[in-house]
């Protein structure tokens, strides 16, 4: 089915013509590569940030909190899934604007208004809003599966709390953490709403270019070329993430045997 969808997209042209000119046009345009770099860095930054920001929270809920608190926490994490991301993004826009809530609060303390939308900061806030609940949930999921005796053992062996986290908890939850980060990269890389609504398309990312290619002369084939480039990139990134996880596991199991 997936193959089929691709096939139809590539052949959906106003004049059925099979040439490489679309590929050449897109791949030789410098703005495409600028947008590519921007999308990649934005999504990468977002997935690194969200992983780091979410981890302590998931750690607390997964390993420190009582089962009751954990359950409530998990339910609270799921709650935003039931509100539209589009609405949340537009609300952020109003909140972060020059006359928004945040700048009003900063104003009380005598700060000048800070520009927080129509730039990378805005996009990143959007990405974080998009992926934070999912990442929290996945991290919580893999952290709560850890055998707590492992951590106790580490403590008993004289491991400080931070060492225990780094040497025991993180490796044990590695699959989940990397999976969550990969998810957030995939979602942020393809997200149109954050860079458009909060980033002001200034400058554009690949997902915005796709929309613009269609707008400018119904260039579905050229848009499809960008889409193929995006899919190939994401497959590479996800494969790399999988190799990181499973490759690591293999090494571990060898160490376990020796």
């Amino acid at each position: 089915m997936v193959v089929m969808t691709f096939w139809t997209v590539r052949n959906f042209q106003l004049a059925p013509d099979f040439s490489f000119s679309n590929w050449v046009t897109i791949l030789s345009a410098d703005y495409v590569w600028d947008a590519y770099a921007r999308s990649f860095l934005g999504a990468g930054l977002a997935s690194v940030l969200v992983t780091l920001l979410a981890f302590p929270c998931a750690y607390y809920l997964g390993l420190k909190a009582s089962p009751r608190v954990r359950l409530i926490g998990a339910c609270l994490i799921m709650a935003p899934f039931f509100t539209s991301f589009l609405v949340r993004a537009y609300t952020w826009r109003t909140m972060l604007g020059d006359q928004g809530v945040i700048n009003a609060i900063l104003g009380w303390f005598g700060f000048e208004p800070v520009q927080m939308i129509n730039n990378l900061f805005g996009s990143i806030i959007g990405y974080l809003t998009l992926v934070m609940p999912l990442v929290l949930l996945l991290q919580l999921f893999s952290l709560s599966a850890i055998d707590r005796r492992l951590i106790e053992a580490a403590h008993n062996l004289g491991c400080g709390p931070y060492w225990a986290i780094l040497r025991v908890v993180v490796p044990a939850a590695k699959t989940g953490i990397i999976l969550a980060a990969a998810f957030s990269f995939v979602l942020a890389f393809g997200d149109l709403i954050s860079p458009q609504v909060l980033g002001g398309s200034n400058p554009p990312t690949l997902s915005i270019l796709i929309v613009d290619q269609v707008r400018g002369g119904l260039q579905w084939p050229r848009a499809a070329v960008i889409a193929v480039v995006m899919v190939l990139t994401l497959i590479t990134v996800v494969t790399a993430a999988m190799v990181m996880t499973y490759g690591g596991n293999r090494r571990q199991s060898i160490r376990g045997k020796s």
């Binding site: 089915m1 997936v2 193959v3 969808t5 691709f6 139809t8 997209v9 959906f12 302590p56 929270c57 750690y59 607390y60 420190k64 359950l71 409530i72 926490g73 339910c75 799921m78 709650a79 935003p80 899934f81 039931f82 509100t83 539209s84 589009l86 609405v87 949340r88 993004a89 609300t91 952020w92 109003t94 909140m95 928004g100 809530v101 009003a104 809003t129 934070m132 949930l137 999921f141 893999s142 599966a145 709390p161 699959t175 999976l179 998810f183 995939v186 393809g190 149109l192 796709i210 929309v211 269609v214 848009a223 499809a224 960008i226 889409a227 995006m230 899919v231 994401l234 497959i235 996800v238």
Partner: protein, 262 residues
């Protein structure tokens, strides 16, 4: 002290998650056509507006139906797919997995048009079930990944032990694997339902005249900038939160009861 800091941090993260929801909740009660500060008079006009449109309830019901079917089907397919990948080694397994994860990576605009063309070629476009099909394709990879994660946490010997004890594959599945994967199955159920409930770009193309709620919300927010969406959002959010709390209460009560029985 460390724990206190950690707790405050958790609160901070939750604040980040809930800030836009709470603010849109506040805006939904403000009369102002374009949400801005300072807040104007308190008013229920946007709720009134939403309830006055007969199409709103239709699209809401439709979305629930679509999300229900999508979550059930993609969780089944996702679990099946994950299990096949976990249990068997076969030729082209990498391709199989790669194909399985591709749909969410395709930009939605392209996926939407492709789905429209594909579905209308086989005569299934333009209705609720088309959205279900499109959403199953989109959601299954998420379900597959979550289930695969859980399966990889399972002790490989568990299944073999069950077979050794004479359980048929089906009984093993039922009594060993499914219970072990239950949290993952539930999580994937929720996540796929959530994705489906929030997806508008593909649904716009394939739903034809049977619009789902997110498609309506898209129309209202992106083109008309109407605060009705805050009312819709608050409405659905309150409802889902109520459901979650109810589920919690049921869970807690049943735990207490079973605790007493023990």
């Amino acid at each position: 002290m460390g724990l206190f800091l950690l707790r405050s941090y958790v609160v901070l993260i939750f604040l980040f998650i809930f800030a836009p929801i709470l603010v849109s909740f506040v805006f939904s009660f403000s009369e102002n056509r374009f949400p801005s500060l300072p807040l104007t008079e308190y008013s229920l006009v946007w709720y009134q507006r939403v309830l006055d449109e007969p199409a709103f309830l239709d699209s809401f019901k439709r979305s629930l139906t679509v999300a229900g079917w999508t979550s059930v089907l993609s969780t089944c397919l996702g679990f099946g797919g994950a299990y096949v990948d976990y249990r068997y080694r076969f030729l082209g397994q990498k391709v199989y997995v790669a194909l399985g994860i591709v749909p969410p990576m395709i930009p939605v605009l392209i996926l939407g048009v492709a789905m429209l063309i594909f579905l209308s070629r086989i005569g299934l476009s333009g209705a609720q079930h088309s959205v279900v099909i499109a959403h199953v394709v989109l959601c299954t990879p998420f379900s597959m990944a979550i289930n695969r994660l859980k399966l990889s946490q399972m002790d490989q010997n568990l299944e073999a032990a069950a077979w050794n004890l004479g359980a048929t594959p089906w009984a093993t599945m039922r009594t060993v694997i499914l219970p072990f994967c239950l949290p993952a199955i539930l999580a994937s159920f929720f996540i796929t339902a959530a994705i489906s409930l929030d997806e508008f770009a593909i649904a716009w193309f394939v739903s034809g005249l049977e619009e789902t709620l997110p498609v309506r919300v898209l129309n209202l927010v992106a083109r008309q900038s109407s605060p009705s969406v805050n009312a819709i959002g608050s409405f659905t959010f309150t409802m889902s939160l109520t459901l979650i709390i109810l589920a919690q209460l049921v869970l807690i009560v049943s735990q207490r009861r079973s605790g007493r029985n023990e």
